[in-house]
Point group: C2
Chain length 385, copies 2
Amino acid sequence: MQNFEFYNPTKIVFGNDTIARLTDLVPSDARVLILYGGASARKNGTLDEVRTALGTRYIQEFGGIEPNPTYETLMRAVEQIRTEKLDYLLAVGGGSVIDGTKFVAAAVNFPGDPWEILLTYGQNIDSALPFGTVLTLPATGSEMNSGSVITRRETHTKLAFKSSHVFPQFSILDPSKTYTLPQQQIANGVVDAFVHIVEQYLTYPVGGMAQDRFAEGLLQTLIEIGPLAIAKPTDADVRANLMWVATLALNGLIGAGVPQDWSTHMIGHELTAAYGIDHARTLAIVLPAMLNEQRKQKHDKLLQYGQRVWGINSGSDEQRITATIEATRDFFERMGVPTHMSAYNLDNDAIDLVINQLKAHGMTQLGEQSDVTPEVSRRILIAAL
Amino acid sequence: MQNFEFYNPTKIVFGNDTIARLTDLVPSDARVLILYGGASARKNGTLDEVRTALGTRYIQEFGGIEPNPTYETLMRAVEQIRTEKLDYLLAVGGGSVIDGTKFVAAAVNFPGDPWEILLTYGQNIDSALPFGTVLTLPATGSEMNSGSVITRRETHTKLAFKSSHVFPQFSILDPSKTYTLPQQQIANGVVDAFVHIVEQYLTYPVGGMAQDRFAEGLLQTLIEIGPLAIAKPTDADVRANLMWVATLALNGLIGAGVPQDWSTHMIGHELTAAYGIDHARTLAIVLPAMLNEQRKQKHDKLLQYGQRVWGINSGSDEQRITATIEATRDFFERMGVPTHMSAYNLDNDAIDLVINQLKAHGMTQLGEQSDVTPEVSRRILIAAL
């Protein structure tokens, strides 16, 4: 096992009908900005519930945070906070709203241009406004980690940052709030969580036995409940497990002490930035092709993954690895998430563009062994056409 | 899944040669009390390493905390802190030293008799001194939770308390510090961690899929590495996994959102308080007999445990459950930890005494269904003779 540090102070409040707990979780004298995305938070009644729970606190709202939250939009929230002297943020939504809120929290008191936060991967953050979240969409894990991904619309740049200052103070996870989500968002959430786990698990063995077992357990659970989450949208147990698994997939625990990959995410980010394809859907395109391209480097873990998660025990090593990658692809397809670029009418031109953007963003040595060069990324994308 | 809250702000610093990190983790102006147990912390060089890492900070020491830390001893540490105006605690040792430090941290500023902390299960704690830990013995999980068990020597009373004020600020987990531990302490640690997991897992199904998979993964890991930890005391990977698994076994994660049992612990505590048997060794006595006594109530989870953890798939339900309980008993015995009271020359008189003590301490409705009455406890102990 590798040396590691693990720290995660976010308080999770989990269960149906837990939004009322806001009354204890938010300081009673807070001047609150509620940040949210589209109209759904208003329509499904969540915003009203939140307002009621906050009682007599001073509240303002900031809506319209996009699925891939942009610097341009978020800087308007920063202005509002500065002007109105607000001091507490409450994100109501999914990963995009929470990621955006993290950026806003760090940007408000940031000296200079907050875009620097992204350019330094968050290294230069000294403080942030306190904030909590009310999660309405299980997928990204942002509700229990200190990472955030922000897009600059102007330049089609999608960059990440991380800082211990932007852990949510609390996150309310109410599975019943997911019942009305569109099927595609649930399918995306399952794939997103799945790939988060794979990025931290499918590398090379370092003897992290608990980490491996945890990752495998989360993958098995997603394989079991993914189709059910589509078929039975109001099954309380299925939605509760989906919500908790998606959080555990990226709260730092399964990645502590083991190598991590993240090449699929970096390539996928460029597909989203250039063509607006949903984040999770870009991961489904890239991952199977990436696993096949890296099958030699990931040989041992691919066999372990196939055996423990998919029960693939027979055949030669190479046959088992092929079957394992195909089982993964098939799972995404069964979730209704395509695994080829052709599903979005993208061709070789798109590959050229993505490779150029990877180079422009310094993404030239991706993966756990830093061996996913632009040439390797190109082969992956050609295989994913 | 049941509604739950999860909160755990302890920072884990994991790996060989991490004690030097104390220089960043302890405030530079802290007036530190180092708390430890026996002579081993001094002999194996850990105390020297700690002192070196703390540099020029003002340091005092308090040694002699017992394996089952007593109120009487700990109150002397409280006096020392008050007199010497110390403001930061550093526990160097295993679960007993850390449990004791939690009590001391809460007692220093407690108005009135600190024994009240135990009598109210920690409900009346408003603050505590900050503290960190350097773990030298993997077993109890105290390094990453907010619970503590304290014994009153005078009355043979062993009681627990819990408070969010007594989470360690950080815990340094250096697996190489375990290489020189006596074999019996390692065996005890494996059994202790194993039973911690079982107490949170082997109850009745509530659809906590990730919790179940995590618990099963930790149990599988302990079964794999337990014998190796005895056979190869300096195997770095084995000791690292043992240390991390023991922490994960009781940091609140696998128990969040599921019912918990703890009857084995409560009965075991009385055996320790009355006869001084090592904590883990009392658990090995009680657990197999308890599982057999409660086989009807725990039917579904016993089958799941047998299948997923032990690979027991054939025979009738009752046969599989019997085989599963025997596999558990056999594992403890293979670790060199006896599963019968006769190994300690205890007989029916001991049972009478334990039952009376359980009644005296209000432990009359134990277990996840509160159905482990003194009569049931008696049957369990008779079966464990």
